[in-house]
């Protein structure tokens, strides 16, 4: 049984049990002032792509640097491809 490890940009590769999972990192909070706020918040709070394959997701490094990370992980294999700090600008041309 493989152990899932997350390459934290601050702390190096660490066991996943040091982190807390939050969920899909690809959804973004809508503007409260938009005309269709209710519909957008419904999608933001409840609807998910839930892909079988690569998934961008939020993990919190509670037992380490206390950073929020955006982790790219394969939900079919649990292989972790990358992890960046959520505060950093997203890498657009990554594999």
């Amino acid at each position: 049984m493989p152990i899932m490890r997350i390459p934290c940009p601050c702390c190096g590769e660490r066991d996943a049990r040091e982190f807390t999972y939050f969920g899909d990192g690809s959804v973004s909070r809508p503007e409260a002032s938009a005309i269709d706020t209710c519909a957008r918040f419904y999608e933001y709070v409840y609807l998910r792509d839930n892909p079988a394959g690569l998934h961008r997701e939020l993990w919190y490094h509670g037992s380490g640097c206390h950073a929020w990370l955006v982790v790219c992980r394969d939900t079919l294999t649990h292989e972790v491809h990358s992890a960046i700090r959520a505060a950093d600008p997203p890498i657009t041309s990554q594999s």
């Binding site: 049984m1 899932m4 996943a16 999608e43 998910r48």
Partner: protein
Amino acid sequence: MCNEQHVKYSVSSLLLGGLTGQRNWQPLWRFPLPRPSYDVVLVGGGGHGVATAYYLAKEHGISNVAVLEKSYLGSGSVGRNTTIIRSNYLLAGNIPFYEWSMKLWEGLEQDLNYNAMVSQRGILNLYHSDAQRDAFVRRGNAMRLHGVDAELLDRERVRAMYPFFDFANARFPIRGGLLQRRGGTVRHDAVVWGYARAADRRGVDLIQNCEVTGIRVESGRAVGLDTSQGFIRARKIGLAVAGNSSRLAAMAGLRLPIESHVLQAFVTEGLKPILPGVVTFGAGHFYISQSDKGGLVFGGDLDGYNSYAQRGNLAAVEDVCEGGVSLMPLLGRVRIVRTWGGVMDMSMDGSPIIDRTPIDGLYLNAGWCYGGFKATPASGWCFAHLIATDEPHPTAAAYRLDRFASGRLIDEKGVGAQPNLH
């Protein structure tokens, strides 16, 4: 379509078989090729799919039905659970549905003429604090108001039933428990086999190794399915593929309020009978029973991250075992012989969805979290009712797809839209 030659299982057929060299056994179902079109096509040959097909044929007279399964019947979560049945729910949207399921379990074997080993050995939920006792009193009262059996036991009555629990645990003292005597366990695979055999006899085509690759929608109406065995036209299509509901719904352009998560389960080496009923540990999340073969069957929390892998990580294994040893220290001396993972449709409020979709002719049965097995009979019953009549069954009327937009959530645990906490 029904074959009158089928053997009805009974004491006399068993004796006859024994005296005639066991030559009276027959395959439980046919292996048909798909026909070009059906009145109803159900996707997913698990418990819910075959139960739906059975009740469509039996209760609604719709037997021009196919069940499509991408692997073999019962290859998904119906064969990957901890076999527990119960109806000890709190909320009004849930109790009548799960109690209807319990009533169907109670008559299931006679109805199907199949031994599913339904065993009402009782389920005991332990409490460890005053606050937890209050919560269980409330739950027990809610159950009894709906006509469901519930008994609150104090510490000494629990000790009389299970003297080997760790009553001296300073951190998690056992104060008592809420007992539902009608809860218990069922042989999980036999549920699929029994429903499949009974559905097949009523003319349902059970088509295995048939993977759905696309849902064809024309002018807002679902008209058929592209599959690995060709296109199959259908007047109505029902999805019962919990674990993979988002993937199937995406083929019709729908996004669902669901995440897929992995839940692990465990079986130990066989022991002499020690655990007469099902027990849950209230200070962590741990549930255990003993199979008729003697192995202790137990499980706990989700791993907690999105997964379609049907296997989990060691962190969850450790957490489950810690809970188990806190409850009954003897577990520390028992070897685990098998573990596995199943993929759960974790919905955003922890409750299921049995409803029409925005696409005409496409019906959804999804979001079972880790409560799908016990729901199998009522899920089939209510989904068949919905597909046949286009109206929700009264016990499942709250399981609407639009409740997330309208705010009528059924959040049994009260943790909000965070699927890995339900």
